[in-house]
Symmetry: C2
Subunit: 397 residues, 2 copies
């Protein structure tokens, strides 16, 4: 009666091992400064207009005449129309209101969307990858095939016709690599999905960091994507909502498989197993798309971008191979020749007090790479720049 697939999950030691090592270092070296470049969370607070929108909404909830009870599970029209407008204006993508579903975050919807697939659906996942895509499918007992990212393909694998898959995970801009697919490359994936009748689960959570209009900021900028792709996104990184909780999923009405409309299925799933996102939070998310609100969130994005630029330049000057950092908050750098990512993690921590995220945590293809994050403090990034430009060469020949 119990789902025994849970026995097949690996221990979640990765992030707790990092924390353990860092805490041990701090305990043994209380006088050393810790420079945190491993953060996967935002550090800048919510935009003032988002705050005031939520204050107003909280106030409304305390008054009978403005109180809101249950909202539509799919999300309030005011937020869905703001998203429809955003997609039209900044992505030139036409969505209908019925295709937009407000969520409490990409992680929830990336997990729950799998309800719509059978247990025997074959899954294609890139390596390296954020472990959640893997675990959610292991929990359902699915077989997973991996497609490798490496320095040769700039960690942007393109379709391999020898692989058959029903569900394809793509994340661009990528966590952990920060790499971004071109329109041409995404076009190859869309063609592959259409040919094989696969469905692409497109994780677009970092789209706000794209700084070049020629790069796709939605899968729906690729012709044919409406017939083969579901796009999942979030306000977490865009607007600092990691603790506030709001995202959205786009399921096109044109997406039909085996005589079933994925859009109708998702609506049914959400109206049965979900009760919508907090009214207060939806008003906060709506404020993100006002002119002033968007300008305020972009200030924070610019802050992280500058952090990334400083780190990228430091690596450039040291001649160390890396990708990401340009249209993404993450930088993916090659470890020194004689060090795997855990060894390099230990070295950076003990030598410089710098905390990073070992690529090994994201798959075998990450074993010789390290993820740096730009979400932290400018002062930390500048200290890291100083320490690394003067000290890192010793381990790179």
């Amino acid at each position: 009666m119990i789902n025994e697939n849970y026995k097949n999950l690996h221990d979640t030691y990765f992030f707790s091992l990092i924390a353990k090592k860092v805490n041990a270092f701090i305990a043994e070296n209380p006088e050393r400064e810790i420079i945190r470049l491993g953060i996967g969370d935002v550090t800048r607070p919510l935009a003032p207009l988002v705050v005031s929108a939520m204050q107003k909404a909280v106030q409304e909830m305390g008054n009978k005449s403005t109180f809101k009870g249950y909202g539509e599970e799919q999300g309030y029209e005011f937020l869905r129309s703001a998203l429809k407008e955003y997609y039209k204006k900044s992505k030139k993508a036409d969505l209908s209101m019925a295709e937009i579903f407000i969520s409490d975050g990409a992680k929830s919807d990336l997990g729950n969307i799998l309800d719509l697939f059978s247990a025997d659906a074959r899954v294609l996942i890139p390596d390296p990858v954020y472990p959640v895509y893997v675990d959610t499918n292991l929990m359902a007992g699915r077989n997973i095939v991996y497609i490798n990212g490496n320095s040769e393909n700039s960690f942007l694998p393109v379709p391999d016709d020898s692989i058959q898959a029903d569900i394809i995970y793509l994340c661009s801009p990528n966590n952990p690599t920060g790499a971004v697919y071109s329109r041409e490359q995404l076009g190859l994936w869309v063609d592959y999905a259409l040919k094989n009748q696969s469905i692409i689960l497109y994780d677009n959570a970092y789209e706000i960091f794209i700084n070049d209009q020629s790069l796709p900021s939605s899968i729906y900028q690729i012709p044919g994507a409406a017939e083969c792709a579901i796009e999942v996104s979030s306000f977490s990184k865009t607007a600092g909502f990691t603790g506030t909780r709001c995202g959205y999923t786009i399921v096109p009405e044109a997406l039909v498989r085996q005589g079933l409309s994925l859009n109708s299925m998702w609506l049914r799933r959400q109206t049965t197993k979900f009760n919508g996102v907090s009214y207060i939070v939806q008003r906060g998310a709506e404020a993100v798309f006002t002119e002033e609100g968007f300008s305020q969130v972009m200030e924070n994005i610019q802050y992280y971008r500058e952090n990334a630029r400083i780190l990228s330049k430091t690596l450039d000057d040291l001649g160390i191979w890396h990708t990401g950092g340009l249209h993404a908050p993450y930088i993916w750098m090659k470890c020194p020749d004689r060090m795997g990512s855990w060894d390099f993690f230990d070295y950076l921590l003990s030598r410089f007090g710098i905390v990073t995220t070992p690529g090994a945590g994201f798959g075998a293809m990450g074993n010789e790479y390290m993820r740096l994050s730009s979400f932290g403090e400018r002062s930390a990034v500048e200290k890291a720049e100083d320490l690394l430009k003067n000290g890192l060469k010793e381990v790179y020949q």
Copy 2:
């Protein structure tokens, strides 16, 4: 590749058919007053202390020094300890912090908890019942056996040893009937579950309405329940959070099946497919358990209770069989002899302008019953009292 179980779902016409009929009536009879006794949503606003707690939290999110990013998926300690205290003080039930999981609502967790069960788990569901328990299992392709509530058992079915089940749904106080199990009756269910190694999914969402200490307000007041029951609850009805979104699920550490700890599985599931409840909302929920906050929410509960008392008394005086209304916001009344619940719905609407919820929407055992809700306006309830006490006798002999 697609989950074809979705083809087995029935159309969700029930609540939209009600809405259609009501809107048609309003259009044809614009001068008639509508008296809403069908509401499944709260109407009283959030308590002042809840509002101020959330205002403070929103403010914190706008300041770097107090900003909160990702929280533990299981929920902040401040809220889990408030719940642990609440269970100890008002239910004499001892929970550990690790057993309490904050959710965005009972509906989400009642759906998602099914991830922990295999597709071939056998499900026992009472009839009448809130349709969501049924649909969430149909989506997973499970077989469902029903156990009947009726006037003979006061809509409180007790175990039938001829039925084998792995998952047992119980809801007390009940939606739609308002019936409440006694400790003895719940003891029978716990014994049955322990004997059969089943797991009870106990929906405790209406526990706040219980007004008699001898009636169980948690399954964990029954000895042995920790080895066979998961309790799901919500702030929706307790504190008016239907639009704010917060609930909690208790998975005892003693609950083990097939060598797997359900508590560990649920933690794994939530850390993989969920990212926690909004910090702002959790601070609002915490305020519910302050002395003043609880006193404020109980004012609203008292308001709904008085509505229920008025409606119950009206039916008593008319000699119409009904249950619920005493420790629940719902009243379940017998329809007139010659009318099924849809006919009675039409009659009450056209004759009195009263909107109700036909029992047929909750299962075959509801075909001759009607659900009345006490969540509406006192003025509406008083008008209904007047109209019914003078006019309803005509259809009851």
